[in-house]
Symmetry: C2
Subunit: 301 residues, 2 copies
């Protein structure tokens, strides 16, 4: 990790998607162009941005949405990255082999090549979020990806709740954390529960920023998507895409209801300074952390 | 961890201390009596509550403040715990052997006995907080303490910034986390920096509540203490003692400037419910967490 990095500008696409993959991609191409024209050097899209969030139901037909990496999306977005000279964080439904699929983030370098991939390690399974049906747990580990704007710890959605994922990226020199996301409310939940969930989501991620002294970027969907089965009220994706600085301070946050594009400037010198006044890495009790690799630690009888 | 725990009431003592140890202890005895009269069953005191925060300077005379455990303080507060039938979390300067001292939390059971101790594992060392001079790093590990109100993960101040400490307590069945604390501002910092620091401190701890699905209690000093050396402007302990629920939601928070006593009722059934809707423990990628025991993970060349 260099402390001579230049400041850079990130662009965030908080978006609502429709059922046309071509329509979604064309929309995103437009959004990326707009953000690049505003000087964004790193542009982050929401989770599984090419389609509706198909995990509301378990449907084998949805595997038709998957594609290889490299494949059509990396080719198309890669060409755009090259033309605009921007780094892109994509989130794709990867077909790795017949019967083997992943929820995979791909970082496209500004030259159009693939800088690296991250296969989502923590896979949720909740009513309306049946991801364990679709995605095999990732095997990339928590390894940040080097790009022309810095070393990016790319994690995906459910990973947001796991301090270990953030920590391991930071220990491998990540200079920022980026979370493509698809999270929302059950429309049946009451306002207090909604507020607690949204606040918890933001708090735990801002906590990762604090604990690791680095900026955190979360980019979410927005808008309502129906449950194709009709059994539930669907998902109200809650937006609130945000950028937090290395003390967890909120630099910018989108609304819970609108499609939004915004940019934020990140200065790596801030993280360097914060880590000097709060040198948490100095004092970690690594001699006492063995239990972190355990599922649970029952009492010794 | 039982899911049949009864709700219980915690009492928080946010306090300013003076240079008389006897005066401080007498004050605390009064505070504990008041909280017990309000029904508190678990009462938490700030870090190193018997004295001024002596770590502003490195002074060998300060070792006179240390005491064995068990010792005078556990005897005196133990008698009070027994009389009032309350569980107390003390924070003492422990003399373990000549030349071997710890920053040690002691949990007194409601029968007056010692339920368990925790020796602060992460020891800070910053200008004005010269704790590495006084305290050997703890050797207890992160092991919660069983009491009549539940299994308490007791951690101390600087531990607050370490997700590993919270996680390991939770993996060992802690039902709540308790942090006796002595943290404050450098009076020379500008208001924005003060706000960021306070917010970061609260955010990272509320993040532990979220990530582990359990309540978190932080109890801090308040008020200004001078630097005995006269070299700095001293420390403005920032209060803000708080109780957060298992979604990180703030249940109650004290001011940044006043001595305060308050109680909060904690219902373990809430944590049980939250862990059902957010089953983070189910999906931890323990096969990929080996690096957590490393100081840093340099790139493989």
């Amino acid at each position: 990790m260099s402390d001579r990095r230049q400041p850079f500008r990130v662009g965030i696409v908080q978006e609502q998607f429709g059922d046309s993959v071509e329509g979604n991609i064309a929309l995103l191409e437009n959004r990326i162009e707009v953000l690049a024209s505003r000087g964004a050097q790193l542009i982050v899209l929401p989770e599984l941005h090419n389609s509706l969030y198909f995990c509301q139901v378990e449907n084998t037909d949805a595997f038709d949405l998957a594609e290889p990496i490299p494949g059509p999306s990396t080719e198309r977005f890669g060409a755009l990255a090259r033309r605009l000279q921007v780094v892109l964080v994509l989130s794709l439904f990867e077909k790795r082999a017949p019967g083997l699929y992943h929820n995979t983030a791909v970082v496209m370098e500004a030259d159009g090549g693939i800088a690296g991939i991250y296969r989502k390690m923590h896979i949720p399974d909740d009513p309306g979020f049946y991801e364990k049906f679709y995605f095999a747990p990732g095997d990339t580990g928590f390894v940040p990806i080097d790009t022309s704007v810095g070393r990016i710890g790319v994690l995906v959605c459910w990973d947001q709740w796991y301090p270990e994922a953030a920590r391991l990226c930071a220990l491998r020199g990540a200079e920022l954390l980026v979370y493509p996301t698809a999270i929302g409310w059950n429309p049946g939940d009451d306002p207090d529960e909604r507020e607690r969930q949204l606040d918890a989501w933001m708090t735990v991620q801002r906590g990762h920023a604090v604990a690791n002294g680095l900026p955190v970027i979360a980019v979410n969907r927005v808008g309502h998507e129906s449950d194709p089965s009709g059994q539930t009220a669907g998902i109200a994706f809650w937006g609130n895409s945000f950028v937090a600085g290395p003390q967890g301070e909120l630099q910018k946050c989108a609304s819970d209801s609108a499609q939004e594009l915004f940019t934020v400037d990140i200065d790596p010198a801030r993280a360097e300074q914060v880590r000097r006044i709060w040198p948490f890495f100095r004092d970690r009790r690594i001699d006492a952390f063995d239990g972190m690799t355990c599922r649970f630690l029952e009492e010794k009888k």
